[in-house]
Point group: C2
Chain length 199, copies 2
DNA sequence: TACTGTTGACTAAACATTCAATATACTTAA
DNA sequence: TTAAGTATATTGAATGTTTAGTCAACAGTA
């Protein structure tokens, strides 16, 4: 059982080291209790060094979100395989491996998403990332429709529901047990079969 | 266009007045920037008065969450009507009226849900509330199945997906435009028709 | 009188941020 | 190859502000 987050392995610069430390501190203490001092502790260096790389706390946190959403976008698989296989992969990614690190990453993302209600920078970054993911899914569904494999009303609408379920699962994982998540997975698979796949 | 939240109209005691003020302060400043002083400002009285009613900030916030989730649970309609009508109502509630106050209430709930990752009290309250809602929906679906109106694999699974979409929409509302929410609504209605209603 | 509501001033801790000082690494000229 | 010089990394201490929480006092009311 590893405790490491794959996105942050081998940080190649001080900036990435600080982002890594910020992520771990966020995970551990939550956004509301996140202080430069705690980030410094996780960083292993003094907190004044952080100000050598970032003007202030805000700039650092916006950079962290940017960095994390970049990882999220990179995790969306490329459309190399058939639409059917692609949907299979997407569904697996939505419901995740239930590994500790995945869950903790999702929780951090949701916590930052909540901040978007009061911070324009966060709002902008999430809009961009959400749009990207929705469009990517919609494109794959469209190609499945073109190939006759899928039968939907509008690929954008189907992709929108996929994304809502993705976000919903992220938020629910905070409190729900694995059993409930499994129920959602089963029902969502039923939806994919009856509402997406052609007969 | 009113700015009032129906849940908080006519607070009948000081405790409710403080909870109301706390909610407005949370809405306005966000959880991370929520201070007793700001709550006092919204309250219209001095902040030391708050300590006359609550031991500390934590107790107040847990009480707020308890209060809010009570409202959420009360908003779930009673199964007075037919299962078909009930599902119609539930879907409308999930996707909301897009009124300002509803959106702001949802945002506050999601922000508090994010805290459940680091606070056991929050976690417990959300578990209770989520379970309650899921079971209520599952019960209605079961009665629809019994009446021959619905055809599902397992009412609990269907209810679980309903709840995930509910939470997902709450979280997405923070950043998404109404157009995207409409897409989700349309697709979810398609799901209800093809996966829930009998032919 | 006793109880509740209410206040403003107070305290101690935590916090973001600054700064002067030191160390380390990197560059270049003799 | 060395010495000097410059940029960058790093620190601990200091600062001013914000914050949660306390408290003694005052007002109204039953």
């Amino acid at each position: 059982m590893t405790n490491e987050i794959s996105f942050f392995q081998n940080p190649d610069g001080t900036r990435e080291e600080i982002l890594e430390a910020t992520f771990y501190a966020l995970r551990q203490h939550g956004y509301a209790d996140l202080t430069i001092s705690k980030i410094g502790d996780e960083f292993g260096k003094s907190q004044s060094l952080i100000y050598h790389h970032y003007d202030d706390k805000d700039e650092l946190l916006v950079d962290l979100l940017d960095y994390m959403l970049e990882q999220v976008e990179n995790q969306v698989p490329l459309p190399n395989q058939s639409p059917e296989e692609y949907i299979e992969i997407i569904v697996d990614e939505i419901f995740g491996t239930s590994s500790n690190s995945d869950v903790e990453f999702s929780q951090a993302v949701i916590e930052l998403r909540a901040q978007a209600a009061h911070d324009d920078d966060y709002n902008r970054l999430f809009r961009r990332s959400d749009d990207f993911i929705r469009k990517q899914i919609a494109r794959v569904i469209q190609s499945g429709v073109d190939a006759g494999a899928f039968d939907v009303e509008d690929p954008s609408q189907t992709a929108a529901l996929f994304h809502t379920v993705l976000v919903g699962i992220q938020a629910e994982r905070i409190t729900s047990d694995e059993e409930t998540i499994d129920d959602v997975r089963t029902e969502f698979r039923r939806y994919v079969e009856k509402c997406l796949l052609s007969e």
